[in-house]
Structures are given as C-alpha cells and as structure tokens.
C-alpha cells in the first residue's frame, strides 16, 4: 500500500492538470481562506459587541452549540439544493460553520479581561471605544486567534466534505479515490469517471463490483463540467417517492431521472 502511494505521488501527471494535486490544494486553501475571511468579518465585531456590553451571552453560547451539532453534510446539501449555483451556496455553508468558533473566541477573550484593568481604563478617562480597542482587544487576542485557528481546522475538514456537492478542493481527490478503492473493476470500466455519484451504500459488502454498477452504462453529462446540472425531477406522489427511495437503496447506480 505504501508503495502504491509513493508511486502515485511520484507520477508528475498526478500533480498538475485540472484534477492534479496542486490545483486542488490551491482550490481547497482558497475556499477555506475565503470562508474564514467572511466569517471573521462577521464574527469578530459581533463577539466584541457581546463581550463588551455583556448582553446576549447566553443566546450566543446556545447558538454556537446548536451550530456545532449541525451536521455539515446536511447543511451543505441543503444549501446546494436551495441555491441553484453550487459554489456560493457551499461557501455560505462553510461560513456558517466557521462563525461559532471565532465568535466564541472573541467573546470569551473580551470577557476574560480583568475587571480591574477595565476599571483602571475607565479611571484614566477612556471612552467605551477606546477601552474596547486599547484594552479589551489586546487582551482578547490570544483567545481570538485560538478561535480563528479552531475555525480554520473546522473549515479544512468541512471543505473536504463539500467536495461531495461539487465544490472542488482536496475532497475531490478523496471521493474520486474512494470510488475506485473497493471496486478495481470499475476503474477499468468505460463508465468510471461518470459514476462518481453512485451510492456505495446500496452495494452490500458482499456484492460484486459488476452488480454495483448496473445502469452506469448510459452516458451522462459529467458533474465535473461546470455547467452540468441535473434537471429538477417531477414532483412525486408519496407511493412513488417510496419506490424511488427503495430503488436508491436497493439498486445503486440507476439515475432517478
């Protein structure tokens, strides 16, 4: 296995080109930093307000906990379906997930300022703003940066998940590799690049690769094409939805359109 990895990494063809490691790495980093930037712009002033005034702390902590429990995959798929264009929607999802750690860091950093230091600041005649920028912010910086670090951590992981809905990044490599890991035959098969959205779950571990790719043969537009987008399916009646659901689970690769 190690040998495989080394030889795969050693192949220069895997590093460049649209699906190479470098472009994917930059893409990944770009999405993370973009989301981090937007989240910082939103979360730091909000956290500073709450920490400075002491108002809304309970709401903030509750909200942060709820977002922490929010399943990233659910949020990302949900936003992807709401907004027809995939990338902005996914970045909104990433921003939503990055806000709580930064918010919590800013809030706790500013709230951690020593009462006496604040009294002293007021005592020497500082206004509220001066106190915020000259006393509370410098004191808050370690915890604030800790929050940003946590957010980045979260973002790197979530961006990988976001590749599932068609955002690029390193997650793309993971999913592509995953699609071929357990089914070596599919690699050789003519349809392998198009079948990335089949549902591996519906192949029971015992079933053979060939039975898992039933229905992959019909040519379909590759979702990697930027313009590709499946047409909206007709509204289904309940019993129909049922059959479809069973079909999705029972027989994997059939596209339900």
């Amino acid at each position: 296995m190690i040998g495989d990895i080394v030889s795969w990494l050693g192949d220069p063809a895997h590093w460049t080109g649209p699906n190479g490691i470098w472009p994917r790495l930059w893409e990944h980093l770009g999405f993370c930093l973009l989301a981090l930037g937007i989240a910082t712009v939103i979360a730091v002033p909000l956290g500073a307000f709450v920490g400075h005034t002491g108002r809304g702390g309970v709401v903030l902590v509750g909200l942060a906990n709820i977002v922490r429990a929010l399943p990233t995959l659910g949020l990302v798929t949900f936003l992807f379906l709401i907004f027809t264009e995939s990338k902005p929607a996914t970045i909104i999802g990433l921003v939503v997930l990055a806000i709580p750690p930064i918010l919590a860091g800013t809030y706790s950093g500013i709230a951690s300022a020593d009462e006496r230091a604040l009294d002293a600041a007021t005592g020497v005649g500082m206004t509220g703003w001066q106190r915020l920028f000259q006393v509370e912010f410098p004191i808050a910086i370690p915890l604030l940066l800790g929050g940003i670090r946590n957010a980045m951590l979260q973002l790197v992981a979530t961006t990988a998940v976001a590749a599932y809905v068609g955002l690029g990044g390193l997650g793309r490599l993971l999913l592509d590799g995953l699609a071929v890991l357990d089914y070596p035959k599919v690699v050789a098969g003519p349809c392998s690049p198009r079948c990335w959205r089949w549902q591996p779950i519906s192949c029971s571990p015992g079933s053979s690769a060939s039975s898992c790719r039933t229905g992959c043969g019909s040519p379909q537009p590759s979702p990697r094409d930027a313009a590709w987008r499946p047409s909206r399916p007709p509204r289904r009646r309940p019993h129909e939805a049922q059959t479809v659901r069973r079909a999705v689970r029972g027989r994997p690769a059939r596209r339900l359109r």
């Binding site: 296995m1 399943p71 659910g74 798929t77 990988a160 779950i201 909206r232 939805a241 069973r246």
Partner: protein, 220 residues
C-alpha cells in the same frame, strides 16, 4: 416544501427507514463515545502519573483532532484492513476523535483535584488503583463531563459524514436527498440530528448530576 415534507413523512415505509437510520446513527455515535471515554481515562491516568509522557500523548492527540473526518474515514480501511463499507471504520475514526478530544480534559481534571484529598486517601490506606477509581475519577467528573458533552455533539454530527463513504446513519438522508434533489429527507435528517444531539446532551447532564451528588444545588 412543507407539502413535500408531509408526503415524505406520510408513508409508513419512509418512517420505518428513517427509524432504522436513527438507530444506526445512535449506535455509530455512542459506541465510539463510550470507547473514547474509556481510552481517554486510561491514557489520561497514565499521562497524569508520569509527567514526561504528557507531550507524548498530547501532541498526537492534537494532531489526530486536526485530521479531516472524511480523510480519516477513507484512510482507516487501508490501515486496519477492513472493508471500505464496514461501519467499523466510522467507529474507529470517531473513537480516535473522542479519545483525542478527551485526553486533555482528563489530564486537566485529574490535575485540578486538591492534592491534599489524594494525600488523605493515601494516608487512609487506599492503594493507587482504588484511589483512582474511588477518589480521583469521581472528583474529575465535572470537568470530564464538559468534555464528553462536546465530544458527543461532535460525534453525532460527524457520523453523517460517514454516509459519503456508505455507512448508515442519518447522513444517508442527506446523500439520498442530494441525489434526488429532494428537500424532505435533508430537512428531516438535519432536524433529527439536532434533536438527537440535544437529547444526548440532556442525558449527559442528568448523568453528571447523578454522578456528582455533592454538587447538587450548585449551578452547572
């Protein structure tokens, strides 16, 4: 959107499937939590006693926690030799996360115990093992419980990522809804995941109250 939701939930088959997913989700999220807590307590106890081992455990713990979940889910079968669709992958990955997340709270909790209490226990003739389980561990519960709550919430949310690699749980509703461009399963999945996290959190708070009778009446 609400009509869709009604249709989706109106069918008994769907409801049965969702219940199955929910059961699977609870199993996949809580088993690693238990494994992780036990491992973290064991490692934390060792690291607490020998200070030199602290860095030895804490540095890898921090590193493990930075690994993206999806990457870990995908790589683990290659390392431990399971099949890619095996739920064991998710269980192992989440146990790793839980352990990594809890080692630091365990060590900090053990550190925070008043040394005179431990000394008193030693003077009364408690041997190290019994002292640990009868004195130190119970006193560590309040700090530990906070860490376990965080770990449980993050586990419950991470199990859904497993759906991408094909293990069950509520994440299946997301991949399903995404593949069919169907809102209802996604909404049901999000709501159920949040509810599950809330319920488990409440149970953990209740357990903490039960385990720390001396703190009753003190706000958490």
């Amino acid at each position: 959107m609400f009509d869709e939701l009604g249709e989706f939930l109106g069918s008994a088959n769907t409801r049965a499937a969702i219940l199955g997913d929910l059961g699977q989700h609870v199993y996949l999220a809580l088993l690693p939590l238990v494994v992780g807590v036990v491992l973290a307590i064991a490692i934390g106890a060792v690291a607490h006693r020998t200070r030199r081992l602290r860095g030895f455990f804490l540095v890898p713990a921090n590193l493990i926690y930075t690994l993206p979940s999806l990457a870990l889910f995908v790589v683990i079968p290659g390392i431990i030799g399971t099949r890619i669709l095996d739920p064991v992958n998710v269980i192992v990955a989440l146990s790793l996360y839980t352990t990594a997340l809890l080692i630091r709270p365990v060590i900090e909790a053990l550190d925070s115990i008043d040394a005179s209490v431990v000394a008193a226990a030693t003077a009364m003739g408690y041997r190290p093992l019994r002292r640990f389980f009868a004195i130190q561990l119970p006193l560590a519960v309040p700090v530990l419980a906070a860490g376990v709550r965080v770990a449980s919430v993050s586990n419950i949310s991470l199990v859904t990522v497993g759906a991408i690699i094909g293990t069950g749980g509520l994440g299946v509703l997301f991949t399903d809804g995404f593949a069919r461009e169907y809102f209802a399963p996604i909404i049901v999945g999000i709501v159920l995941t949040l509810l599950l996290a809330l319920v488990v959190d409440l149970v953990l708070v209740a357990m903490r109250k039960f385990l720390t009778p001396w703190q009753r009446g003190v706000s958490t």
